[in-house]
Amino acid sequence: MVIYGVALLSFCMLVGVFVGDILGDLIGVQANVGGVGIAMLLLIILSNLSHHKFQIGSATENGIHFWSAMYIPIVVAMAAKQNVIAAISSGWMAIVAGVAAVAVSFAMLPLLDRIHIGEKDDS
């Protein structure tokens, strides 16, 4: 049943966000620490289980695939509700800070990605 997939997804997200909130409280920050990441991990682990007790049927899968496919349209909607004006009109300093942070982070990616190549050569 499709609803099983949607419910499984909801379960993962609620558990993840709940754990993330508690983590945030424990560390003492006013933010959710990795809630969505924990939810994703949970879903990956559940979907990689191929137990005879826990099998995800194809209709159940459809319930999850639907939301996965809705991801890009949702991102488009998210883009359309950004406060772009504030980003552009707040003066040069904010823009320079944002642009510089992105440029430096982009430049860092090839350096860190190389660590993977090193590991691969060893094995």
Binding site: G34, P73, V76, I85, A94
Partner: protein, 254 residues
């Protein structure tokens, strides 16, 4: 009268209106992609860019903070593009992701979050100093804003920064997220963003969930779960480090 009842229907069914609206927007973008760029610029990249342009237009007409969603007709866009649906869809993309790729990049992925937060903070702080800020609280808040637009205000509030500085930090974070959304598909080939491993690191370095989500969607949807996974830890780590260790470091140096 017909127009009135049409507006009434669209407003009452805001979320459904948003589905239809975004559907048309995405269709239009894919047509543009196929006809004008012969598929060179991905349709989803165009759709996201158009979304941002519309957000600008919406913001300048309504003078609100929610882009298009400030038009009452399109309020549903705000719900559809809000954090709840965004996170739900991001979690869904994890279905079918390889556990192996995650395990292999475990250490580098975690390191990239730490490096990403510190790097963006330092860059933001240096920019703040070069624009004449000398107060460690202001410098830290702007540095935190260069991490994400959530870390900025959280840090600023914790340190007692004034609201103008907090607004600047939000703007720095917004600039970052918009730029990551637009820039990623163009930079991706040059920085080797083409594998789950690279996407995990990229998510950790950039950290802005919305930027990473949009940027990867426009680059290669298969990479989304990997980047989104590490990105979701970024804001938490940022909120942890910026008002504490990083602020103390700034105060010691300034």
């Amino acid at each position: 009268m017909i127009l009135d009842s049409l507006v009434d229907v669209l407003t009452k069914n805001a979320l459904i209106t948003a589905f239809a609206f975004v559907g048309i927007l995405v269709w239009f973008s894919y047509e543009l992609s196929a006809r004008l760029t012969r598929g060179h610029i991905h349709g989803s990249a165009i759709a996201i860019a158009l979304g941002l342009v519309l957000a600008y237009v919406g913001g300048s007409i309504t003078e609100g903070k929610q882009g298009l969603a400030d038009f009452s007709l399109l309020a549903g866009v705000g719900v559809m593009g809000g954090a709840m649906f965004r996170d739900f869809a991001i979690v869904a993309t994890a279905f079918g992701a390889e556990l192996e790729a995650l395990k292999r990049a475990g250490f580098v992925g975690a390191a990239s979050v730490l490096i990403g937060v510190v790097l963006s903070f330092v860059v933001g702080a240096v920019v703040a100093v070069s624009f004449g800020y000398t107060d460690p609280v202001a410098i830290s808040t702007i540095g935190a804003g260069a991490a994400t637009y959530i870390v900025g205000p959280v840090t600023g509030t914790a340190l007692g920064a004034d609201s103008g500085v907090i607004a600047l930090s939000v703007a720095a974070g917004l600039t970052k997220s918009v730029l990551v959304m637009i820039g990623t598909p163009f930079v991706a080939p040059r920085i080797g963003l083409n594998s789950p491993h690279a996407a995990l690191i990229y998510g950790g370095l950039m950290g802005t969930t919305s930027g990473v989500a949009g940027g990867l969607a426009a680059t290669d949807p298969k990479l989304v779960p990997y980047g989104a996974m590490t990105a979701t830890f970024y804001t938490g780590v940022g909120c942890l480090l910026a008002p504490s260790v990083l602020f103390l470091a700034v105060r010691a140096i300034v």
